[in-house]
Amino acid sequence: MTGTLVTARRVLAQLRHDPRTIALILVVPCVLMGLLAWMYHDHQPQVFDRIGPALLGLFPLVVMFIVTSVSTLRERRSGTLERLWTTPVTKGAFVAGYALAFGLMSVIQAVIAVGFSIWVCGLDLQGPVWQLIVVAVLAAVLGTCMGLLASGFARTEFQAVQFMPAFILPQFLLCGLLMPRDQLPEVLRWLSDVLPLSYAVDATKTLATSSDSGADVARDCAVLVGFIALAVVAGTATLRRRTP
């Protein structure tokens, strides 16, 4: 537990020395949402209302995935991880420390992105705003945890960055944004059922169209939490105190 807090604090201290990364984490989703709103502003504002909430789940997930996978890989490559294994920190505390630090960044990022979309870009949401924030935070934390997991399979930063299209883009294609999931060919629908992003997008779609969203959103969020836990456990399992 101490290891988790101490590590989270250290990761945040590192981030503080890197204001450009902080700016990218916080600003990029807002810029993308702004672009999207602007694109549809003149002729099809209803399209922004329909896909905007889903992209509020997707953008933070992508950003956090990259940030986390590269920074944990950097730890592996710089020798600090090997040194850490000679200290009292446990594997679980290490992963949890990273998840906590970047999870905190995710919360700030999600609050800013949702606020910007609704109050600046004029996103018209049927469901409650706080539920959209919860979904966006969970999506970002999921990105963090999947990034931790992916970094376990990458040997170089170069590979880690390429895991983004490999891990995320298939989920993007099948998540129901381009085509409703129930219209997908059967095999692809099954596949989309086991991909986490589908549930984030389902939840945001419900929030976009229905004011009575509570139960559905809660169920999707529970599934997301399950995927987060799975990614943390699997990410911890890829770490080895002893290496060849």
Partner: protein, 311 residues
Amino acid sequence: MTSNITGAGSTATRRTAPGVVATGAADATGAADAAVVVDGLCVERGGRPVLGHLDLRIPAGMVTGLLGPSGAGKSTLMRAIVGVQAVRSGTVTVLGAPAGSAALRRRVGYVTQAPSVYEDLTVEQNLRYFARLAGVGRGRVEEVLAQVDLKSEQAALSGHLSGGQLSRVSLACALVTDPDLLVLDEPTVGLDPVLRRSLWALFDELAASGTTLLVSSHVIDEAARCDELVLMRDGAVLAHEGLDSLLARTGTTDAEAAFLALIDDAGIDDAGEAGPDAGSAGQQTPGSVGRPGPRHGVPPLARSRQDGEQR
């Protein structure tokens, strides 16, 4: 911290006297004076043996030098001792417990060959992180910063430091937990002679206060700084004894010549002297091969050139 070589020599004489033994090693049954006991250690990497059935005892409260050419297996042995090396067979016992066990993680300090610190943290933040992980108080950070002469750099971003400063930050991160065993992989590489001298003086101070140090180097001349030498080549221990007895045995005048003589011996007669005999010499009398007077002081300046070449 800036003591001269003669001063360092006197601490060495004090240390080799009987009875000066780190308390931490006392619980190692049957090896009361050994901080590290390596038994039949085999390590393979990519199907190729790196360490072949290695036996070694490292005495407590002394500076043991691990010398040998690049590729001899020094780093692998050190990684096995700190418990991050996947091992094929054999045992490594550190301070009475299996290497890498949870109980040891507060008592063993490890400094990797390349400085392993967070370059996007300040010097002080680096030290404080490792201190907090081990539950060590804030005061210790200040103490160690002074010990490695980095007080004036404590607020600097580690990534902005010179190579020599960075390797001292790396060392400080291990010192901050006040370990009983300090494993240092080439800590003096790339340092100027003055800094190198002061680091060796620090190692002497630490050993005098009961810490066991295992220091690797491919600069054979640094042998003169160690209480005991372990000469390695091709994943095996060629010799383990003090420099004096090594020189006397090989009839040579410096460590490099002695090393070459041992290699020649081993080439002529594999099963003979250099192999098992040298190993047991270290095991029987790890503390008794003391040096009578000051150490063989090779002028520090003479070393830096060689350092650069071998690197």
